[in-house]
Amino acid sequence: MKSALLELSYLIGSVTFIIGLKMMGNPKSARKGNLLGAAGMTLAILGTIFLFEKKSEEGVVVADYAVPGIIYALIFGAILLGTIVGWLTAKRVQMTKMPELVSMFNGMGGACAALIGLMEYQHNLHHTAALATIIAGMVIGTVSFSGSIIAYLKLNGTMKQPIRLPKYNIINTIVMAGVVLFGTWVVMTAPSMTFLYLLFAVAIVYGILFTVPIGGADMPVVISLLNSFTGLAAAFGGFLYDNKIMLTGGILVGSAGMLLTLVMCKAMNRPLSNVIFGAFGGGDAAAGSSSISGSIKDINVSDTAVLMNYSKKVIIVPGYGLAVAQAQHVIHELETILEERGVEVKYAIHPVAGRMPGHMNVLLAESNVSYDKLVEMEDINPEFSSTDVVLVVGANDVVNPAAHNDPASPIYGMPILDVENASHIIVNKRSMNAGYAGIENELFFNPKTSMLFGDAKAVLTKLVAEIKSL
């Protein structure tokens, strides 16, 4: 009876995951979809706790078994503590910090899977198949954990430059092969716990080595990939316990995460292997930039105000700089006042603008920018030629023409926003530093381009005031 009810709760949970994820694909139903998934998860967790039946070694249900109180206390204590901390962290974080938080939570899931492996190992020393599942889940979960932590540190700026050991690709491949061989050996020979901890440590090192050389611009891809890894680790847990909801949830996220990773890579027009093994913004990147020459033209706020006020059509290109400066509200104000003056305003959203796909949409939605003003790259590109002013706010690589015309550039081939076709281009940047990918941008040297230096929020606030006074 109990086990049938548990299976039912898992079945319902699995269905809510699938329907929930599907609903999240549409802006109208997305929020409900997420809540549906959360409800299914709650059901599965409650079912696991309250419909538990102790089974003997042979898989027979032990009648009248009472779980010791201390275990219930610890489980409820952990859930309570996790809920409070998780809830508060998620509620308090600024919208701009969202990507690193997702990375952090992903790492927690990976660590959870790894701990399950550490605990289950000794109980399964004689089942090679179970051992293989445990080791696979543990190693993948661990890599996902340490990789996510590095991704977190990179995104929040603690770790700015990609760190590349000499011949890092070879070192990484050797370490990866080492982890696989070591893991296989552990499965085959079932050695003492010491070796399991050693394997755990090596997997942590591999996760670090895997993520450390990858450049900041590629972090979204890495997070999505690690997300998919954690799904896989959860699925291995499902194999181990023949637990259907861990299987569905894990595989669902594993495959969906992998597809999302590939979609992101496609948006950047680079194969996944290039993201992982390629040196983005590495030594040879400098070669492409040396050919850039010409002078940079400044523009002040009042000239910008006049130019924009008397335009017919303005397109705003937001980038990560907008998020950093927290300028999403003031940009909406700028849009509103220009619209009042009869200027047509749109936002051009590059698929990889910001630190995650859709990052800009989330950010602009926060400041109530209307949904239909956000136009995706393919749809907006033909419109630039009929645009008077393009305002680039804190974006760099996604408008770099080197992607079109400099085969030596590391971003060559990536689809970009063709802002060059507009009559005037105004670029707001804090300084002349290169973008996240660490490459020069010849757009800034274009005769049609004027640079509006300063912090996005401060400059835009002045700009809005200036336009109001016109």
Partner: protein, 101 residues
């Protein structure tokens, strides 16, 4: 060779299960607008928190005199909860902003 074939026929159901789940995962993500990629990634992130079910299961089977296992299990359930609760709440916050005004 024979052993591999045996393995396949023995685990026939689970193999079907995995294959179909993979396709469902791909199908569910297909055609999602870029706008929703971040919330979707975050939502998927919350869903793999289902690994907590495994953590709870291990914990329920722990021998209460094994303090190391109790500590590890506590930590596993805690981390799993962080993944689930944090994941769903963050996703909800992102999606909240998409509601029509």
């Amino acid at each position: 060779m024979e052993s591999i074939l045996n393995l396949i026929s023995e685990h026939r159901e689970i193999i079907y299960f995995v294959l179909l789940s993979v396709f469902v995962g791909i199908e569910v993500i297909g055609g999602v607008p870029t706008v929703l990629h971040t919330p979707l990634m975050s939502g998927a992130n919350a869903i793999h928190g289902v690994v907590i079910v495994g953590a709870i299961y291990v914990m329920l089977n722990v021998d209460p005199s094994d303090y190391l296992a109790l500590a590890l299990g506590f930590l596993a359930v805690l981390l799993g909860t962080l993944n689930v609760v944090g994941g769903f709440v963050v996703t909800d916050r992102m999606l909240e902003m998409f509601k029509k005004k």
